[in-house]
Symmetry: C2
Subunit: 344 residues, 2 copies
C-alpha cells in the first residue's frame, strides 16, 4: 500500500524480527513497531496494534516463527505448542489467525529433530503464508473490480484495507482496482464504532490513494440507502462458513439487511485464509465480546454515563441469504458454493 508515497505492507519480517505498522496510532501518527518474541506479538494482537483478519493471520504466522527461533532445544515441541495456543487465544472470531499459526506450527514440526532446519522452515512458511495472503488480496481485487460499475457509490464498513491484510486489502482491494481502472467511484465509509477503524483507517487509505470518499456515522448508511444513493456494498470478513454465512465487524449484519431491503447488491471480499472448512454455519462462530470501556471511554474520558453498563460484541453474523456473492481470488461465487469452489 502507498503511505506518503512509499510502498508498505502492514506486517513483515526483517532481520529476525516482526515489523508492523501501529494501527492504534494511525492516522494521526505513522509508526512501525518491532517484535522479537511471540508473547509481545500476542499482546499486540490483543491490543489491536494489528487488526483485520488476514493481517492478524500473518502476524500470528510470524509470531510462530519467532517462537521457533527462540524455542529452547530441549523443549522445542512443547514451547511451540504453548506459543500456538497463546497466539490463537488472542482473538477468537477471525479464522485466519489459527490458519496462519497452525500452518507455521505444522511446517516446523515436520523437521524435528533437525531443529536448525525446523527454525529456518518456520520463517519460510510464515513468509510464504504472508506472501500468499497479499497475492490473494491483489487477485481478488482484480476479480472483484468487475462488479463495480462506473459511477458507483459504494458503502464499506470497518477497514477491509491493506492495513487489515498484508497488502492491498479485501473490500478495498476491489475498490483500489476499480479506481485504477479509471472508474469514477465514491465511497461511503462507515466510521465503525467503537474503534473507528472506518473513520481512521479506511478513510486514511482512501485519502492516500486519492479515491473520493466521505465518512458517515454507522447509523447514517440507512439514510443514504433510503435516498437511493448507495449502489453496492462491499465488506471484508473474519470468517466464511461452509454454508456461506460470514462473521465480520459488528454492524455488517445491519448493512446487509438494509442492502437486501433496498435491493442493493451486498458483496463479501475474502482471501482463502478467511474460509473455515470446519465451520458449518454462522451460529458456530464464536463472537468476541470486548471490554465495555471501548464503548464508554475515549482517551480516558467518558463518552457515556459512567454508571451504566455497556455490551460490546465485536462481530456479528451475516447469513448467506443476504450476501449477493463472495469475491475470492478464484472468482465471485454464490455464498453457498464459495467454500467448495475455494477448496478445489
Amino acid at each position: 500500500m502507498l503511505i506518503n508515497g512509499t510502498q508498505y505492507r502492514s506486517v513483515w519480517f526483517e532481520h529476525g524480527r516482526l515489523k508492523m505498522i501501529d494501527q492504534n496510532k494511525l492516522p494521526l501518527e505513522f509508526g512501525i513497531k518491532e517484535y522479537a518474541n511471540y508473547l509481545e506479538v500476542a499482546a499486540a494482537i490483543r491490543e489491536m496494534t494489528v487488526r483485520g483478519a488476514p493481517a492478524i493471520g500473518a502476524a500470528g504466522a510470524f509470531g510462530m516463527a519467532l517462537a521457533a527461533l527462540s524455542a529452547p532445544d530441549e523443549k522445542f515441541r512443547s514451547y511451540l505448542r504453548s506459543a500456538r495456543d497463546e497466539l490463537i487465544s488472542t482473538r477468537p472470531t477471525a479464522v485466519d489467525l489459527s490458519i496462519g499459526v497452525n500452518y507455521v506450527y505444522e511446517s516446523a514440526l515436520k523437521f524435528i529433530p533437525d531443529l536448525p532446519h525446523a527454525r529456518q522452515v518456520s520463517v519460510l512458511a510464515a513468509n510464504e503464508f504472508a506472501n500468499k495472503s497479499a497475492d490473494d488480496c491483489l487477485d481478488l481485487g482484480v476479480v472483484g473490480a468487475a462488479i463495480i460499475p462506473d459511477g458507483a457509490r459504494i458503502l464499506t464498513h470497518c477497514n477491509a484495507g491493506a492495513l487489515a491484510t498484508v497488502d492491498h486489502g479485501t473490500a478495498l482491494s476491489v475498490i483500489r482496482q476499480a479506481h485504477k481502472q479509471g472508474k469514477n467511484i465514491f465511497v461511503y465509509v462507515d466510521e465503525t464504532r467503537p474503534r473507528f477503524q472506518g473513520a481512521r483507517l479506511t478513510a486514511y487509505e482512501l485519502e492516500q490513494e486519492g479515491i473520493p470518499h466521505a465518512i458517515i456515522t454507522d447509523s447514517a448508511a440507512g439514510f443514504y440507502f433510503w435516498k437511493s444513493e448507495i449502489d453496492v456494498v462491499i465488506t471484508g470478513a473474519d470468517r466464511v462458513c461452509l454454508n456461506g454465512d460470514i462473521a465480520n465487524k459488528i454492524g455488517t449484519y445491519e448493512k446487509a439487511v438494509l442492502a437486501h431491503v433496498h435491493e442493493v447488491p451486498f458483496y463479501i471480499a475474502a482471501p482463502d485464509s478467511t474460509f473455515d472448512f470446519n465451520c458449518a454455519k454462522g451460529e458456530d462462530i464464536p463472537i468476541e465480546i470486548r471490554d465495555e470501556d471501548e464503548i464508554k471511554r475515549i482517551n480516558g474520558s467518558y463518552l457515556a454515563n459512567p454508571g451504566s453498563p455497556a455490551l460490546n460484541p465485536s462481530f456479528d453474523i451475516t447469513p448467506a441469504k443476504y450476501i449477493t456473492g463472495i469475491i475470492t481470488p478464484k472468482g465471485i461465487f454464490d455464498p453457498a458454493e464459495a467454500a467448495q469452489k475455494v477448496q478445489l
Copy 2:
C-alpha cells in the same frame, strides 16, 4: 424527572428568566443555565444545550416570551417577528419548535395594542405550552405502557427522555410507566452517534430511575435482533406527517428496517406538538445537515482521518410502513390514521 433525588423539568420559566438543564454537560456534570433574552436561547438551541423535539419546542416558546418581555414598545410587532424567525431557524427538522414559537407569537399579537397585557400573555402562553407538553408526555407514557410485556427487552435510540421533553419523555415515558407498573424490563440503549445522546442522556435517566439497561453501539442492535433478544423498539420523533411517516434522529430508520425484517414491533411515541398537519409525507421534511466536526472530533481531538470529509445528516425518515403504531396521549394509532385522530 428525578435527578439525584430531586424533581426537575428540562426547561422552565422562573423570575422572568428561562432556565434549562445543560444537556451538553450531562452526565458528567449537572448544571442549570439561565437565559434573559431570545438570542441567547437561539444560540443554546443551536449548540444543543437543549435538544429533543418537545424540549426545544418549549425552549422556543419561552424564548418568544423573553422576546415579548424585552421588545421595545415602538416596534413590538416587528421585534417579535424577528425573534420568531430567528428561533425557528435554529433547528429545521423538529416541528415542535415552530409550533411552540408560533403559539406564543400569535397569543401575544392578539393583545396588541395592549402591550403590558400582550407581554403577560406571552409568558402565560409559553407556560401553558410547556405544561401541556409535559402532561401529554405523562399521558402517552400511561397509554403506551400497555404495549410493554412483562419481561420485555426494549431497544431505544437517541434520547426520547424527560430531558428531550419538558418532563417524563416520550419513549422513556412509556418505559418509566412500564417500570412503575412493576414490569421486569431491560433496555438496550443505542449510544447514538455522533453526539452520544443515548449513551450520555438516556443511560443517565435510566440509571437515575433504577431501570435495568445497557449501552450498545448503534451497529450492535442488529446482532441482538439476530439473537432474538429484542422484543420491542420504541423511539421518539421530531416530526410526524399526515401519512404517518416520521423524522427522528439519524439511525432510527435502520432500526425500523431491522425490526420489520425480524417481525419485532416498532413504535413511535409522540406528543401532539410533534404532529405536523401541514406535512403530507416524509420526503417533505427538511433534514438538518450538521457540521462534519461532530463526527470527526471529540473534545477537540480527531477520532477520524483529518484529511477526509464527513457527511453528517442529523435525522432520517422512517416510512409509515415500518411503524407498528404511534403512541400518543389520546391512544395508540395506526401511523396512517394518527394525525387525524390526534387532531380530533
